[in-house]
């Protein structure tokens, strides 16, 4: 996953539900120095909560994405993030050259 264009990640999940896997694996795919380059807010919900888990991503160009971890797997999330990141990559290349 291309993570260099992310500026903010907000997650909220209940680890005892199966849907938390998307959020947790997304957090695990961020690089080791991610906290210096982006803002990461993650909240662990209690076990018997009714609150829905969420995953919000902001890019450096201002684009925001919101995923529903109940429906989207980590594969879908990575695909979407990469799709926009590749566009940003290309823009950066064109601007640089």
């Amino acid at each position: 996953m291309i993570t260099k264009h992310l500026s903010e990640v907000t997650t909220k999940f209940n680890p005892f539900s199966k849907q938390a896997k998307t959020c947790r694996i997304f957090l695990a795919t961020l690089p080791a120095n991610a906290r210096q380059t982006m803002k990461i807010n993650s909240k662990v919900l209690p076990r018997d909560t009714d609150a829905k888990s969420e995953l919000k991503i902001k890019f450096k160009d201002g684009r925001e994405m919101q995923f529903d971890p109940d429906k989207h797997s980590i594969k879908d999330v990575a695909e979407e993030v990469d799709r926009h990141s590749r566009v940003l990559n290309r823009q950066a290349e064109l601007a640089g050259s």
Partner: protein, 332 residues
Amino acid sequence: MSPRLGICRDCLRKIRSPSSSTKRYLAAAAAATATTPAAPPSFEAQPPPIARFPRTQPPSHKPPEFRKSQLHRQYTSLLRSTPLLLLFQHSNLKSQEWVSIRRELSIALSKVDETYPQTPPLADSTKLQIIQAGIFESALRIAEYYKPPPPPSPGDSLATPSSSPESTNATPDPSNPIFTHALSRHAHDAVYKFKNAHPLTPLLSGPLAVLTFPTVSPPHLKAALSILAPDKQAGFPAPTRRASPGYYDGAVQAGVAKMMLLGARVEGRVLDQGGVQWVGGLEGMEGLRAQLVALLGAAGANLVGILEGAGRSVWLTMEGRRGLLEEEEKKE
């Protein structure tokens, strides 16, 4: 394979499939052995039973030389022995950050050991280790749901010599402990139906680390939580800059930010973050003792007060009456 050996294909086929004459011969030989009466045992001594595996290496479901088999054994033993286990997600911590976090943790725990000299020291035996989630899940099932059958009494084993481990491994006898250890096929079959049954199972995915304590000691848990998952509102503040300056190193701070407390297993029960904080907030044996002393002292003081009260009120009444009488005498 055949070209390398230099045998032509036809010959190879002949070698592999016995010819019709060979088959006939084999059938005749089998019939002969079936019809001939068995030789008396006195002529030919029975060959000793062939050991299929050494006594020190009982058969296991997965080959024991694999790393995952040994990890499975290690996790099973860990789960059976530890009453307090915290599960953390670690997101890409560097080795330097692991080293610093472990250092701070051991410093904090040894400080607690010094404050509670009566309790056994836990700083050296508390361990923060990365686990393999899949193997840990299987080990958890074995530790929770598998009860090995009790070993047979010596009289039974003498009565059934056929179950001796040297003679056979084709029909594992469940009463023989050599076939019922945690890695055995028996154990695997017994817990297979409990897949995904344990409430801790949804936590076991992604990068995981466990912190294990040899006993449930709330003060130690509190110290560990304030290092690894500080939460000021819940009563687990991070140590102050003056108390432990090492905690504010860049590596420790970066590492702690990437650790996430997911849940815990406390004496067989599964707790979430709030539950862990509740256990950590308990006073422990020392605190309970202090509370009990305070309670008993307060009750004693109350009792003394009540008993004194009657005497004091009598004294007060008598004093008041005496004062009145003295005043009346003066007037007269």
